[in-house]
Symmetry: C2
């Protein structure tokens, strides 16, 4: 099959326009590493080094406080938000950057609950990322008005939507299995029951085509350090539908969401549109890395990325299933039903992943027994899939996971 | 008087131990600039450039996801929190980094309100930084239980503390005037009335000696981009008294405050001690700059900084009052009652500040008519005070503020 991927989604049989040999060269990939954890932390875009250095030297260093105006720092949450917006189908003026994903979840759910004051249920699924559930839980404990986070299995979500549901809060791509929700269909079902939707796009943005506007999503949030490769702890984003943004009350009503932050009024008055979802002083150094990372997307067609991701995922599944029958696929078998990752269940998942990492194949472990492999087409190719499967096969066949050095370490992210 | 400052606070007449010529050399200060806005955004510590470059190159670039463990990224909020703790008199295990100051205010006030469920008043003053007031306002609107943010004049705070007050929320140093509250005395008064305290140390940390533990503060928060020089939008900190930390319920209950973040439990269970005040994924690139900026404090005695700050402030006041009688001091005249800034009221404050900036004297404007000058002894000396006053005098005497180019710009931070 080789490295050139044809695009099953592209009409007319045209070849993909994205040059993946070129995109791979835009990243620093350590020698000898096959990096299958870009869905946890993307690798370093080479341009980020120079961009950050320039920010420190020419902007912070030389402009000092004047950077807020003269280098446009103050406008970055909105300006970079527009760049994210283009990746998720958001109209201009509906996305803003800042804080962490957990904070953005809180903002979205708080706003949605307030728009449905007579309802008490936040509906989610067991596959949602736990921090989203925790933030919702913390919020409703503060509200103290008998709200409830109701959890069902991912496949039961549609049937669980009823007229008690204020907010349907879901992560589009399951962080463990890669199972992909149908955003448009579930949003339609939620709206039919009078509920609002909050979509977490952490594992979607940069991985597959997203159209929040066409899907009718009310709120969407996400992070930028996974498939967008913006670095550890990079800023999050929030989208608010244009149908709502002018009457959302921000629960986290910080000064930079104020209508006139530098008037220093004593009373809060929310700013225009999406600006009101800003909170505190934006993280300018992190934005420099993010901005450089986003440049890569200017020369990428997301349909090409999706097509290649599906093909690489298929290849990895085929290679692993042929060679390692003890590993059980826990991702959906149909590529269309997966995000950009492939996960296997294996009794010895934890030490096996440690052994893999030692051999340069970096995936990650998710409790209790899942090995997760992120497929990032910008810097991975079919040869990587084959080689990763070969190394995995050796480890499993030789029971290397029994070695004591692989039994003891602690997992992170 | 020259550059060598004797320390009025030091007993026994010993000379200061801090070498301010050396500390000045640790910063990049643009040619021709006298930087009197370090209380808004500190200048670039030279070491931050190399530290950030190394983080990108050797940690993110080479370690990828493994940096969370192998480079200690995951522990940085607590490890750097300890460094901040030493600057504010906080015991080990009581300070953690992350988010923005506004978010930290929200966490502190939410926790304090929950500890005083029968009380309804958040008491603050007109001199508090507006974002603190806005965040408290947003919180109580969410709670919807007839809470109230009650504002009084700074000098009336002590008398306004009564048994309805749940939380006394104050900024120790007034961002506009530099007026310094007596943290120990007001905390004692709050406790006597059964209230808790939340102290914002944004304009205190790195400017003057702080002892949150001796003062009995319940919560304290602050930012690191002012006198700590950690860069635009650098992470904030929160302190929680050891008396409370083990029974605080975090309102912003993110996964990294969970007792076992990587167990991915569906239910939230707060982590041990101060760890529970963490929320989302920490901003690792920003931490690299912050960590480098904090190294400077390892060779600085805060009593020396305070003594020099008072002396430089006195000098600036004397020079300006002698030369520019139209400018009215709005900071307290007694150095002991001021933080590390000097502010003047002037009818033409806005265009005058623009003219000053054009001449390389960078202070800032605070609406409606305040010119604010931050005094950061790490990189300023008496000659800077004299020169700044000379340039200000020329601008005022020659009515340069009337020039059209100084009338139109927009203020930022």
């Amino acid at each position: 099959m080789g490295d050139a991927c044809s695009s099953p989604q592209r009409s007319g049989g045209a070849r993909p326009t994205t040059d993946f040999t070129r995109t791979r060269a835009l990243f620093h990939l350590p020698e000898g590493v096959i990096y299958l954890d870009g869905n946890s932390l993307g690798p370093l875009p080479l341009a980020a080094r120079e961009r950050v250095a320039r920010l420190l030297r020419d902007e912070w260093g030389e402009m000092l406080i004047r950077g807020w105006n003269d280098a446009g720092w103050m406008d970055q949450p909105g300006r970079i938000g527009e760049r994210i917006g283009r990746l998720i189908g958001a109209p201009a003026g509906t996305v803003v950057m800042g804080d962490t994903l957990s904070i953005k979840v809180y903002q979205a759910v708080a706003a949605a609950l307030e728009m449905r004051p007579e309802r008490r249920v936040i509906l989610s699924d067991h596959g949602n990322f736990p921090s989203d559930l925790y933030m919702a839980d913390g919020l409703i404990r503060s509200l103290g008005r008998s709200h409830e986070v109701r959890l069902v299995a991912p496949e039961e979500v549609a049937d669980a939507i009823d007229r008690n549901v204020a907010v349907l809060m879901l992560t589009e791509v399951d962080y463990r299995t890669g199972r992909l929700h149908d955003m448009a269909r579930l949003t339609e079902a939620a709206h039919a029951a009078g509920a609002l939707t909050v979509w977490d796009l952490a594992h979607s943005v940069g991985a597959l085509p997203i159209d929040v506007r066409a899907a009718g999503a009310d709120f969407a949030v996400g992070c930028t350090y996974k498939f967008l490769n913006a670095g550890p702890g990079a800023p999050a984003f929030i989208y608010v539908s244009p149908d709502h943004i002018d009457h959302v009350r921000p629960a986290l009503s910080g000064w930079l969401g104020h209508d006139a932050p530098f008037a220093f009024d004593l009373d809060y008055r929310s700013g225009p549109g999406i600006e009101r979802m800003r909170v505190g002083t934006p993280p300018i150094i992190a934005f420099a890395a993010l901005d450089a990372a986003l440049d890569i997307w200017d020369e990428v067609e997301i349909d090409d990325v999706r097509a290649r991701s599906m093909e690489l995922g298929e290849r990895l599944i085929a290679e692993v299933e042929t060679r390692c029958p003890d590993l059980v696929l826990v991702s959906p078998r149909q590529a269309e039903e997966r995000g950009s990752q492939v996960s296997f269940r294996f009794e010895h998942a934890w030490p096996t992943m440690q052994a893999l990492i030692d051999r340069g194949v970096i995936g990650d472990f998710r409790a209790p027994d899942v090995m997760r492999f992120g497929i990032a087409p910008l810097y991975l190719d079919a040869a990587d899939m084959v080689r990763a499967a070969e190394i995995l096969t050796e480890i499993v066949a030789e029971r290397q996971w029994e070695l004591p050095q692989y039994q003891e370490r602690r997992a992170v992210t």
